[in-house]
């Protein structure tokens, strides 16, 4: 045998290298496994096809039940009030009657808030003061900056953050005797 040139020689070597020859058992085993796996995949696909409509149907049933029997309970703990924003705990408690002016106003932290502004009004709606708190959840009410007389007072908290601007309240307290 004569090999004409090096590249053709490489190709001749490539062509002459031994080849495998699959037995019938080799092919049969693989193709039978393919049939089994294909059937499993198709079955799984059919199941998925049923699951989506079933999930939608279940959701519709739940919504219907909720509309027929809505839960109208809105009972809140004494110190937990619903303002314009999320519920929170405050001090003094909303609607509380005090013998003297509170030393400070307190509220629970609001997620996402970095600063708070508190506005205090009297019963006539006159703004008595606007107080700021950065990160803190309380402000002190100092005299004589705010002169309390017996009567009802209202206050709101405006919570602000990078992605937040919400108002909590108004809340009220009443002072029976001037201090």
């Amino acid at each position: 045998m004569t090999i004409p040139d090096p590249s053709a020689e490489d190709e001749a070597i490539r062509a002459a290298l031994p080849r495998g020859r699959a037995s019938e058992a080799h092919d049969t085993a693989i193709l039978a496994a393919a049939d089994r796996v294909g059937a499993q995949i198709r079955a799984r696909r059919r199941l998925r096809g049923w699951l989506a409509p079933l999930a939608v149907a279940a959701s519709l049933v739940l919504v219907s039940v909720w509309m027929l029997f809505p839960n109208r309970s809105t009972v809140l703990p004494d110190d937990t009030l619903r303002g314009n924003g999320p519920a929170l705990e405050i001090s003094p408690a909303n609607g509380s009657i005090l013998a003297r002016a509170p030393a400070k106003l307190e509220w629970s932290a609001v997620a996402g808030a970095s600063t708070y502004e508190v506005m205090l009004r009297d019963a006539q709606g006159t703004v008595l003061g606007t107080l700021s708190a950065s990160g803190s959840t309380q402000v002190a009410l100092t005299l004589p900056a705010i002169h309390f007389v017996p009567g009802t007072y209202f206050w709101v908290v405006r919570a602000r953050g990078p992605a937040l601007d919400t108002q909590l309240g108004p809340f009220s307290f009443r002072i029976d005797a001037g201090t």
Partner: protein, 193 residues
């Protein structure tokens, strides 16, 4: 013959997504012979090649069953399949053989069984096949691996990735392997011009 590489990936995805067995059968008929040829040249034994081939195809089916086939931009379906087969061969035979050799070496020097005695039925009818077959078996495993991949049309860059060796190393292994095969042919009276 190899088909369009993208079509191969699409066929595998179709089988994986819909269970379309005809897609798998197309892949099987397209890559069965090249894979066996590669494994036959790598392993040197028909029965080992067939066993590894079967395991590789079964692993591929398992990949499809799990929905785990993710076609790569840089690697063809054939590369994926051949890598499955090569990894199985390396784990099952090469590393196991190395471990066995190490154990035996510790006990009896030079008493290793010859695992490469089987006659090659596929090359029996070819004039120079048996010579090359014998020469191929004499190659170091790394060279035989490279030349076996090259011989079924895997390009050098892909081989480099598959065998985890630099491109120059792969080129060098192929060069030395082919040189030894040429020498073997020359010894058997095949002349170069």
């Amino acid at each position: 013959m190899p088909g369009d590489p993208d079509e191969d990936k699409s066929l595998m995805l179709r089988f994986q997504g819909t269970g379309d067995v005809s897609a798998f059968r197309t892949l099987f008929s397209r890559h069965k012979e090249p894979l066996l040829a590669y494994l036959r040249r790598l392993a040197g034994r028909v029965e080992v090649a067939e066993d590894v081939s079967q395991q590789a195809w079964l692993k591929l089916l398992e990949v499809g069953r799990k929905g785990a086939y993710r076609p790569s931009e840089s690697a063809s379906f054939r590369t994926f399949l051949f890598t499955l087969a090569r990894n199985h061969y390396m784990d099952r035979f090469v590393r196991a053989h190395e471990a066995r050799v190490a154990r035996l070496d510790a006990k009896v020097e030079g008493a290793l069984p010859d695992e490469r005695e089987s006659p090659d039925d596929a090359t029996a009818t070819m004039q120079i096949g048996p010579m090359l077959d014998a020469a191929l078996r004499e190659l170091p495993h790394e060279q035989r691996d490279v030349v076996a991949l090259w011989s079924v049309g895997i390009d050098i860059d892909t081989i480099s990735v598959m065998v985890d060796a630099p491109r120059d190393t792969v080129m060098s292994r192929k060069k030395y392997a082919l040189a030894k095969l040429r020498q073997a042919l020359a010894r058997q009276g095949v002349e170069e011009t």
